[in-house]
């Protein structure tokens, strides 16, 4: 089995999140070594580049390269932000990292701040997980009391302070510039880029934003070496990745696997498809990623390049599994409602287009579809893509385009027969309340 967990290794749920537990697992050793050896920041960034770590939030941008964009010699404050605004349907890994191993995120952020010359940082935590936000505050207090955060970290001349900022219910704030606006106390509406956050971020100061899991990987890269991390995965896809698997499996949950592990292994770890039913489709990287039919995903390995080659995205590593009891029109209807609900309203193609998409799919699902509706869906989705300030527009369009591409027959059947191809009694079995026996 290709599982050598790093971030989730040695954790025991709610019992092992405190500073002393993290230190017992070797935590803060990487930071202590950097402070002791006065490691030059360039060496840290070089190590990050060698690790092949790519952003774990969804876009998969090389993290070391992102760090190198930060103008370290810029006078005055520079900021670091952690994106824990995890609201992409299917994604639930950052919640587990923050509640079970919060200090790995703190250590990763302190190292990042050291490497990029940041003076202040914020961890933006998803609104719906208030209890996790409270725990993270406790972890910050522990780190401050131990001299691992604040003025003169570990008695060195390096100072950095970190705070938690709690969201309050807006998917769009997971978009990095919306997140910056939100930290400034505004509506979370994305900024036009350029300027990029590295030159104009929080309060107009240079800012680097990384995902929670990205920061959580940093201590392991620095302590084990970039090359060792890279070798856990495959070329251009370094390290381990936490996959959140949900939907029709026997054991939904988080599984940390080496990048490049076959999808079939993850499915087996999650106990296989529920009720012995047949796999129908998988969304491999969060609800915004194009859906893949069973036969395509079963041949895929889980890494950025393989999933991209198969026509989708690894995204945040959120794997939504749908079995043969799923009506694909109904599934898409719910996702389209979500994007319509969460569009921030700033760009017309997204604000209006997401409403069009939802209403068309809604009427198809409810037996009122028209003969030209599939063409209309393609046209509306195509007119949103690439015509908005941020990626939410594309995120709304991609599910529609891929569902219609791979399951067009099911949509056509709905339009023609005014009912689902999957009989309602079979759908009812698949949507029952299911709680894994291991929970």
């Amino acid at each position: 089995m290709s599982a050598h967990p790093l971030i989730l290794a040695g954790l025991d749920g709610d019992r092992t999140w405190r500073l002393q537990d993290y230190v017992a697992r070797g935590g803060y050793e990487a930071l202590k070594k950097i402070i002791r050896d006065k490691t030059p920041p360039d060496e840290i960034i070089a190590e990050m580049k060698a690790s092949g770590l790519r952003g774990r939030g969804g876009a998969g941008f090389p993290s070391g390269l992102k760090w190198s964009f930060m103008p370290r010699s810029f006078p005055g404050d520079k900021y670091l932000a952690c994106n824990s605004d995890e609201g992409e349907p299917g994604t639930f890994k950052d919640r587990d990292i923050l509640r079970y191993n919060p200090h790995t995120v703190i250590e990763g952020m302190v190292i990042a701040a050291y490497a990029m010359g940041c003076t202040r940082g914020y961890n933006y935590i998803h609104g719906e997980i208030f209890e996790v936000y409270q725990r993270f505050e406790e972890a910050l207090a522990e780190a401050r009391a131990a001299g691992l955060l604040g003025q003169h970290i570990l008695r060195s001349d390096f100072s950095f302070d970190l705070f938690a900022h709690h969201g309050y219910g807006a998917y769009i704030c997971g978009e990095e510039t919306a997140l910056l606006e939100s930290i400034e106390g505004k509506k979370g509406q994305p900024r036009f880029k350029p300027p990029f956050p590295a030159s104009f971020g929080i309060y107009g100061k240079p800012t680097t934003i990384n995902n929670t899991e990205t920061f959580a990987s940093v201590p392991f890269i620095l302590s084990g070496g970039g090359e060792a991390f890279q070798n856990l995965g495959k070329p251009n896809n370094g390290g381990t990745k936490i996959f959140s698997i949900s939907g029709h499996v026997n054991r939904p949950g988080n599984y940390e696997l080496n990048l490049g592990t076959p999808f079939s292994e993850l499915l087996a770890l999650a106990g296989g498809v529920r009720g012995g039913r047949k796999l129908k489709a998988v969304i491999p990287g969060g609800s915004s990623a194009p859906v893949l039919p069973a036969n395509v995903i079963m041949d895929c390995t889980l890494d950025y390049d393989a999933i991209s080659k198969a026509g989708s995205m690894l995204g945040s590593g959120a794997v939504i599994v749908m079995d043969e009891s799923t009506c694909m029109v109904k599934a898409l209807e719910r996702l389209s409602y979500f994007y319509h609900e969460e569009s921030c309203g700033q760009c017309t193609p997204c604000r209006e287009g997401t409403g069009w998409l939802y209403r068309i799919i809604h009427r198809i699902e409810h037996g009122l579809g028209r003969a030209d509706d599939l063409d209309l869906l393609r046209s509306v989705a195509g007119n949103i893509s690439g015509r908005t300030i941020c990626a939410l527009g594309d995120a709304a369009a991609m599910p529609v385009q891929s569902f219609v591409k791979h399951f067009g027959d099911e949509f056509a059947y709905h339009v023609e027969h005014k009912k689902c191809l999957v009989p309602p009694e079979i759908q009812a079995v698949g949507s029952q309340i299911y709680v894994s026996p291991s929970c």
Binding site: G87, A170, E184
Partner: protein, 159 residues
Amino acid sequence: MLSQESLQQIDQEIAKYPSGQKQSAVMAALRIAQVEKGWLPKDVIEFVANYLGMPPIAAYEVASFYNMYDLTPVGRHKITVCTNLPCALSGGVNAAEYLKQKLGIDFNETTPDGKFTLKEGECMGACGDAPVLLVNNHKMCSWMTTEKIDQWLAELENK
């Protein structure tokens, strides 16, 4: 307008941001105000804005943009159910239907005794725990079978 305790909590939030950037604390301040008042009437939003030295309209924009703020009164226990796709595949919609039937209300309605309000939620980032409920924005309940829903409602009934 707000209790000393709430104001103290807001001051702690303000301290997280550089001087001159009090507005950054508006989300937390509105949350704290809502916990005390149950919901956010306009005069409370205005008070928070004045406390932070920002225009009331800017605070109102925030309160109306983020969906966990309640701009109209809600019951003593606001229950939000996630019905998004990953949750729906594990019974999120069925859990919501069960709650509607038990409480005799639809989404966005409050029981006549003012105890419960039911809301449909979007992704809470806990899809592996489906069905998931959020009680009064801050308490997450995982793996909510009908039996567990019954238990929870009985507990909340007496609170």
